[in-house]
């Protein structure tokens, strides 16, 4: 497993947060990126679209994907880098595939804004066994085939693109008096149902949110007591003053002060003494978050296949973007999905036999400033492009 990148890469590294400074191009500006006609995809255009893919969330902010641009065939391949599939937190690779679904959805949505419809083809060789046991450094997950489509109007395009840039994880206490507007509820259900094998359950009652909170507390505490998980989490948590690491989660993203952002990761790694109740407090914080939310949302895939899991990720990202449009923030609570007995409990009670695959809460932060918490860092896109992509032929624009 790799630790977050903390060293300067071989080429000059841009600041770790530059990915979020993505310009909103008009259709003319987009087309002008390459010497290509209106129905063609160029390398620069592909990279611009991938800039949005890069903004998608990932488990522990591992950003586990790599991309290969095949301009000749108007397709973009998504590859999973096994070194960023976390052995303790994500032993099956399911989280990484859900993250892949999120990145794919952003890519597809961005392409649609510039008149390109994406058709996703999952790699037929990909299996759970391959993901968890393959020796290769990267596995091709599949490719997005781009075809010509209608161009949305400028206002709709700008709204869709800005939404991807504005979306962020806010692991703060939400305002429990805020309710999900009926229109957002409808949009969430519609967004989830675009993936036909994905079901969305929305829990808004105080009793249900509390029940999810208790299960999350139980599962989080259970995971935190696992040394391997705790150490891994400690490796992926970064001090607030780390401005260079391009992966991992800074303490401030959890609301931690500078001192704790330095101490807690070391405590989790057992390099510093940890108070006996610290893990309990961390678990309880998740419960407080869930109880304070406007809604706890749970996505379940009817299929547990690799393709079905990616679909869950896509549905999740669509839901999150819709919530962002309505001014709602989100935080993900994964522990329940990773502790089998708690997952089974949630399935038997709250989920009426469905299995939870993604659990997230929506709400508006109680403290307005929390809505503006800093984004997580991202690697440079150039560092995520597979070298073999860069053939002379692929830089030539082709018709799509």
């Amino acid at each position: 497993m790799s630790a977050p990148i903390t060293q300067q890469s071989r080429t000059e590294m841009r600041p770790a947060f530059e990915a979020w400074q993505l310009p909103m191009l008009t259709i003319d500006e987009f087309r002008a990126l390459d010497a290509a006609g209106p129905l063609e995809l160029g390398q620069n255009q592909a990279e611009y679209l991938l800039g949005f893919s890069l903004l998608a969330p990932s488990s522990h902010n591992t950003v586990p994907l790599a991309y290969r641009i095949d301009v000749a065939r108007a397709r973009i391949e998504l590859w999973l880098r096994r070194s960023f599939v976390l052995p303790a937190s994500d032993p099956t690779g399911k989280e990484a595939l859900i993250s892949t679904g999120c990145a794919l959805e952003n890519l597809s949505l961005a392409a649609a804004q510039y008149g390109m419809a994406g058709r996703w083809h999952v790699d037929s060789q990909l299996s759970w066994e391959l993901i968890s046991k393959a020796q290769s450094a990267a596995l091709r997950v599949g490719h997005l085939q781009l075809d010509c489509a209608s161009v949305p109007n400028a206002q709709a395009r700008r709204a869709a693109l800005e939404c991807m840039v504005q979306r962020r994880t806010v692991r703060a206490e939400f305002d429990p008096t805020q309710r999900i507007p009926p229109a957002l509820r409808d949009d969430l259900e519609r967004a989830a149902s675009e993936s036909i094998d994905v079901r969305l359950s929305i829990f808004e009652s105080a009793a249900d949110k509390f029940a999810w909170g208790k299960l999350d507390e139980l599962a989080t505490k259970h995971k935190l007591e696992e040394r391997a998980f705790r150490h891994e989490l400690g490796r992926w948590m970064l001090p607030n003053d780390d401005e260079r690491s391009t992966r991992g989660m800074r303490g401030r993203e959890f609301g931690l002060e500078d001192r704790l952002s330095r101490d807690l990761p070391a405590q989790l790694r057992d390099e510093q003494p940890i108070a006996a109740d610290q893990l309990t407090f961390m678990s309880r914080a998740g419960r407080i978050g869930l109880c304070s939310s406007s809604a706890v949302c749970v996505l379940s895939g009817r299929s547990s296949s690799v393709a079905g899991t990616i679909d869950v990720g896509r549905a999740f990202q669509r839901c999150w973007l819709h919530a962002t449009l309505y001014g709602f923030c989100a935080a993900v609570h994964t522990a329940i999905c990773h502790v089998p007995h708690v997952r089974a409990m949630s399935s038997a009670t709250l989920m009426k036999s469905s299995q939870p695959d993604v659990i997230f809460r929506l709400g508006k932060p109680l403290q307005a400033s929390d809505a503006q918490r800093a984004h997580s860092s991202r690697p440079r896109l150039q560092d995520l492009l597979l070298d073999e992509v860069l053939s002379a032929e692929s830089s030539r624009p082709v018709r799509v």
Binding site: E173, P176, T177, F210, A275, A276, D277, T280, A344, A348
Partner: protein
């Protein structure tokens, strides 16, 4: 033979109740009163002019005549006297003495230990004053001990109880009436009775109210299984036409934000707030009489602004020390001594990951609650804070 058929509008169908589910409680209750009530010249005088003993004697004679008639009859087994109480949970039927006699029996042993400061109130007036007191309890773990103290001392007719949580085995060292019976609902409540993961928990408010109604079925409980929330707090405190206004609120919540919110609203509405805290070997009782002191601080000898700042720090920074700063603002900066101090400072071995709570001190806290609220209700001056140290065998009092 001997089955009772119970028909009641609240039951969907008549119930057949076998003799092993029938309990005649009226006669034993009256027998106990016969033994306890004094016929001496200082038997409490009622407004009717009779002494309490005289009133009882009349009632008892009437009952014994009914009992004799029933016994001599071929088809009557029991006098139709008192109130039938059907326990839907257990399927048991109780025949309970009339309200005034049943409730008198529950208080008789307290004699006239509780008096008003001037000693001018009659026993009947004291009893009415206490039984008409409406107390609302927020939090049912430690709170169940205060409930126990209040009902045993005051025997109110009405109480309210809010707690969103369910019973856990680790609560059983301090939760009154908790038992195996409530660690999970019966298997029949499962959707799939064979699914062991389908654990349906028992809400604390339901078990505490249920067990209390098995002692006093005439007592009315208003339950808030969703807990106290910003939305329902005014209804909890002030009533709404169907529910009465509180005379006292006992705040024993886990939710730190609600703890402060309860005090804010109670102060606004002039409702005294009682809180008992089990602090290691020490039990601490605090009565904030917002009825008499409408500008009293929300915390203990700390400005409101400081308290609120500590609350926000505690809930936003993730720093363990900020929790204890908040606790200090609510309880007094000297809240931790001896082994409890060692816990706070994490000195020495610490076997559990949650704040230590002594079962015996929880009971003591409940006793203090019952006594202090009853005395205050009768007009006695109660100090702002009382600390009983069961290890050092000391008591300290902080006057207002």
């Amino acid at each position: 033979m001997g089955n009772v058929q119970l028909t009641c509008p609240a039951l969907d169908a008549p119930r057949q109740i076998a003799p092993d589910r029938q309990y005649s409680c009226a006669f034993p209750t009256l027998m106990a009163l016969d033994k306890a009530l004094s016929s001496s010249s200082n038997s409490p005088r009622l407004r009717s002019g009779q002494s309490l003993r005289e009133a009882f004697d009349l009632e008892y004679r009437r009952y014994l005549e009914l009992l004799a008639q029933a016994h001599s009859s071929d088809d009557v087994w029991e006098p139709d006297y008192g109130t039938y109480v059907y326990d839907r949970r257990s399927g048991e039927l109780y025949l309970v003495a009339p309200e005034s006699w049943h409730r008198l029996a529950l208080l008789t042993s307290n004699a006239k230990l509780l008096t008003d400061p001037g000693g001018v109130m009659s026993a009947e007036e004291i009893r009415e004053r206490l039984s008409d007191t409406v107390v609302g309890f927020i939090g049912a773990s430690l709170g169940s001990n205060v409930i126990e103290g209040v009902v045993r001392e005051m025997r109110p007719r009405i109480a309210k109880l809010a707690d969103p949580d369910y019973l856990e085995a680790t609560n059983l060292n301090r939760l009154q009436h908790g038992s195996l019976r409530y660690l999970a609902q019966a298997r029949s409540h499962r959707t799939d009775p064979r699914n062991g993961f389908e654990t349906r928990f028992v809400n604390k408010v339901e078990l505490v109210a249920y067990e209390n109604q098995l002692i006093d079925p005439y007592m009315n409980w208003y339950l808030y299984p969703e807990g106290a929330t910003p939305e329902n707090l005014d209804q909890f405190l002030l009533g709404d036409g169907r529910e009465p206004r509180l005379d006292y609120v006992v705040e024993e919540a886990d939710d730190l934000r609600i703890k402060i919110e309860v005090r804010k609203r109670a102060r606004q509405h002039g409702i005294p707030v009682f809180m008992a805290s089990d602090l290691g070997h020490r039990s601490q009782a605090q009565l904030q009489d917002f009825n008499a002191h409408s500008s009293a601080p929300l915390g203990f000898r700390v400005a409101d602004a400081e308290l609120l700042a500590r609350l926000e720090r505690c809930l936003s920074t993730g720093d363990r020390s900020h929790l204890f700063e908040l606790v200090g603002a609510m309880l007094g900066e000297d809240f931790a001594v001896d082994e409890y101090r060692s816990w706070v400072d994490q000195i020495g071995e610490q076997p559990t990951s949650s704040i230590p709570q002594s079962g015996a001190v929880a009971q003591l806290s409940g006793a203090l609650g019952g006594k202090l609220i009853a005395l205050h209700r009768l007009g006695h001056r109660i100090p702002e804070r009382v600390v009983v140290d069961t290890r050092r065998l000391t008591i300290s009092v902080d006057e207002r």
